[in-house]
């Protein structure tokens, strides 16, 4: 119920704006999940899903949130007391670490300042020191949704290899998949964790695990109790086009449509679009005289930008004004960033003029909230959009 007419601007970093094509696809009648038409759906979906992960390996689909897919990655590959190494990048790496601890894993965190990605060198050092190979998995959040920082996964891979360490590499791509270039196979990732509600442009309700050969081998001896998340019966049933328990059929219809849309635009074009929008957003932020939270330009996120407010200004007050006056939702500061940061989502089903509207709303909201900004931020973004079409 908007304060004005018109469509809500959902510019949190996910769930993202679901294209109406996808919403309509999801409104088709639910079918028999054990019938031949369902088998055709599965057999069309799975091969179309791999390329989005950059993999020819199997991708497991769960009726779950992305959080469930985090849990799935761990319980399929590890045993009670196993040690995992997690790079602290922000709120979501912290939550994943807590989850790991909660289900009985030993958790070791490489500390971070929430403005940078995982340090590949630190990973390499820690693994080199782990002569007993106690660490069984390295967990990396590819794009940290709480900070807008994209970790350099290939460099982390290289560091693991340089250390000659056998740990699995588990990567969360919840807010990067289908928005930021990602290559499960080429980068040697063992489990890629994803969700439906960001770059895949779907409502929430599906979780994903892309699974390497090595991860699959690990799952055969992994000892954590598992049932719902167990890859084996799913992969087995998938070969016949089915699932071992009732799948979220209508979200799968949506997934089929979203994959078709991504293929129509082409993944390279999708990634380029996100980079362009991210660069335009940063141009606006800097012209306003504000600081982008991400401190390393190699790690700028293509899917969201977290903006630091000057001391004494409350980011949630800015967000509230923007919601009330301009009917736009922005992301709040999470965890230790509460109140000092707001986040602009520019991912998913999104284009230049929606970005322009978004940045216009941010600019006006900052002004209304009394945050001292220099003029011209929106213009700087438009210069970027116009000249780098």
């Amino acid at each position: 119920m908007s304060p004005t007419g018109g469509r809500h601007f959902l510019q949190i970093p996910g769930p993202t704006n679901v294209p109406d094509r996808v919403l309509r696809a999801m409104a088709a009648p639910t079918i028999d999940h054990r019938g031949p038409e369902f088998a055709e759906l599965t057999k069309a979906l799975l091969p179309a899903l791999g390329p989005v992960f950059g993999t020819t390996a199997p991708v497991v689909i769960y009726p779950s949130s992305g959080t469930g897919a985090w849990e799935a990655a761990l319980v399929n590959t590890l045993s009670p007391g196993d040690r995992v190494l997690i790079g602290e990048t922000g709120q979501f790496s912290t939550l994943w670490a807590e989850l790991a601890g909660r289900i009985g894993l030993g958790v070791e965190v490489i500390p971070g300042d929430w403005r940078r990605g995982v340090d590949p060198a630190a990973v390499g050092e820690r693994l080199a020191a782990d002569t007993e190979r106690a660490i069984k998995a390295v967990c990396v959040v590819h794009n940290e949704t709480s900070t807008g920082v994209t970790s350099r996964v290939p460099d982390v891979r290289a560091a693991i290899d340089a250390a000659g360490h056998p740990a699995l590499l588990l990567v969360d791509t919840i807010s990067s998949l289908a928005s930021i270039d990602y290559r499960h196979d080429e980068w040697g990732v063992d489990v890629t964790v994803a969700g439906s509600q960001k770059g895949l442009m779907l409502p929430p309700g599906l979780g994903f695990n892309a699974v390497s050969e090595k991860a699959l081998a690990a799952s055969r001896s992994a000892g954590l109790p598992r049932s719902y998340w167990d890859w084996a019966p799913i992969l087995e049933a998938n070969t016949r086009g089915f699932f071992p328990y009732t799948p979220a059929t209508n979200l799968l219809y949506g997934l089929r449509e979203a994959l078709a849309m991504l293929a129509e635009e082409s993944l390279p074009a999708v990634f380029a679009r996100h980079q362009r929008h991210a660069a335009a957003t940063r141009a606006a932020v800097r012209t306003w005289g504000l600081e982008v939270l991400c401190a390393d330009e190699r790690e700028y996120s293509g899917s969201l930008t977290a903006v630091l407010l000057p001391t004494g200004h409350d980011a949630d007050a800015v967000r509230r004004i923007i919601l009330e006056r301009f009917d736009m939702s922005l992301g709040t500061g999470l965890g230790r960033l509460a109140g000092t940061v707001f986040r602009i989502g520019h991912l998913g089903h999104f284009n230049d003029l929606t970005l322009a509207g978004t940045l216009a709303g941010v600019q006006m909201g900052l002004q209304l909230a009394g945050v001292p900004i220099k003029p011209g931020g929106l213009d700087a973004a438009l210069d970027h959009l116009r000249d780098l079409g």
Copy 2:
């Protein structure tokens, strides 16, 4: 199929962006148009429709475009050879005049320069001179969609009254209804013509005639052949909740939802929102150094703004660039305005940030097309939106 991801910006002055609430309402199953559930629908719709026209008189709904409703207004009230007086305001007044001629009416046009509304004084003079009362109806396009000029209907009414002339007053509100303040009863209008696809936020497919007592009386002796458009059987069937031929049921579902949305926002708020967006748009146009087509500030349109390009620049080339680069549709110059004018629709289901995105696209498109504009147009619009919230 957009060149980028994201939602198309449909910023022509109609059809307008249909709210997804309305689209979903229209997706309900078609029902028996002779059954009790349909009668309930009609009996809920009609009383909710009157206030939007500012009337307690009956409103006739046709399965037709607005063009059909033009024809209906004429054939119900006039006889072959009757004379109508039409103020030339632009392409649509011209088309209405042509239609009148085509169906056997005598047409007299008060010439205009397509930058102003109907001149009430000229109407008064002409009627005063019509001592034989040969003129049976005065036709006014309230908001001329081809120019963005809103005629002053109350002043026209006053001029007719001052002349003591019995002519009917027929008013086209196709692009003003539910966007710009309009009062069928208070302004003494005899037939108000409207369509579904502008301020009513529906897809095209419904035409409307609001009908005064005087118009109804005229219809009893009017001699033009009519059947489909005949008010009498429709008004008769409506009393029982039905229609004499199959109505456009699913569009009626959409109408019910759209009327609910208008009531939720309240008509005064709807009108104020349109005025505010129109003023912000003009602020942008002027800051760019371009000319608003409408030449009389009393007649600025709340629902669209037509922009004149400097000599030597092709408005359609600008529109093409904007469509290709930014996936936004703008209105073309119609008739004699072809190539020199483009039109920005800012009506219907629309809000501040969508306007900001719209004007950003116009600004970038003008720059890409090489039209010399001064910077700051969008900023001027945002100043307006921000400070007059």
Copy 3:
């Protein structure tokens, strides 16, 4: 709001049950009706529409009900005072005749008993006697929706030819198109009138005229006033993919989808399906000991069956019980058939089990209403469905 859970059975002879595929297609956002995407839509639609009419001639699409398409057929081809010959087949032929009279045509009716189609011999005799060629058009309702009788159009054509008479042949296919075999070109029809809400499986709101060369030639000199219905500007604009006034865009989306569905099933299969369901329905009616209204077995309708009740029983009372108890809408008796007949629609998006449910509801409703029927009607229908699959 059904008295029980579950989906309403809409078994009137139109509007028919709209497939959810079509409803979803219609829920897509309205687009610019003057833009390139719209032109693509039109250019895909029109060639796909012809085969459904059995024609390579142009088909004109109106935002209107079928009633409007009746009017269009007349005003485009005839002049004031022209004489038309209409075969009385029931309520709809009567309404068409009244319409013709209302717009200034001379109307001559070949009387009928509402249980038979147009008598080709009678047409031939009348035309042979018309040595002055005063009759300009012969109007035939192909499938009379009020009676469930299908006139033999090829025989009417043959009778006209045998008389060597130049009259145009205008045929209403509102409740037969895309349900019962029909061939505009092969049968030498000049104007075919149709609507969206029956065999085309759309909501109401589109009217159609398929137009022969001869009809087109007639339109050039036809003198009835016309504007909205005028073929010429529509055909002209159609060549560029557009319409002269705003078309009912979202219904056109639905039409595209419905044509795709018809093509998937194939028209011969569609026609065979309707014949099979009609035969099964008649088997039920006869087994119950009731009378099918249609008196000539060559003229049984494939799209609906009108059932005569024994004297002393009120067909509307039966319908009311069926609506209240079983949430099914059946067609009422129209005009002189009020109270004595009810009509079962078995056309459009319809299958064996829906027919079984429909006939079960009719059987139970007849019993509840105290109409004396023999048992076994539904079983007889099922025998037919099962054995002639």
Copy 4:
């Protein structure tokens, strides 16, 4: 893609036919799951959900299948090595038992013949013998979806009480909730497990746990590892209208609509409708001379009927014929019932005429498959429907 036109008959015992009202509700845009509008949604949903479970206790909603909700009930209340007692009623009780074993619980099964519900006396005896209170939970499938047998939960409760045993009572209502009378509070159930895709008339994708005080107390000391399924953070976040991880927003929209529909019809009417349809179905089966799988008339299921075929006839061959010829999906025989049983779902959004169509399809399919049946089954069902309206 049906072999004929018309709507597919989805008569498996779930997923059920989703009402188009619910599908349309789910097509609304996804909103910010951390914003005020979402909080309002949650705060409206949760109080409306309790009555469907017959409880004032909290109900936890998961983005998951029903299988996930099974796992949730166990991991929240039990510790590794804890013993659970499960009554074998069919395939689903067996799967739940396997799941329990897989996650580290000791499982004791009370054997059954897959034609009866859980034997309350056997439960009582086993618990009485468990003097060491090793059994921590009794698991009952209220309505066994594989057999169409409804266990007598109140009698099981009484048996537990009579034994004075402190075991928790965990009940699976996946195919009974909102179809068959069920009372979490009154019957003293500790955890009720449910899913979205049966009586709740939603697509699959939501799992539920209704949680008694005693279960909540147990969860505080339960030692099985848990994170995704953990009640505590969900219940905590729910108090503010939120969820600890991204919920399946659009399914929640559907849930809101489905709960409104259930309230409109009223739960007692919903239960009565299901009983009536189940009785009519059994009347058909018996008249055909076939056997209903459920062997105890106190335990007939209101939501599905499993039909035993005579020896030598393949139930899946019958189902295949029915799918191909009549576009209807029926439930297959699961586990040890494969080939000998098919299942007719008559639950959810369902009415008399759809049941008539369903049974007509079964009757014709049995005949086409050469299964020897006596005539009159469908008629017997109709007698029931007609006379017990």
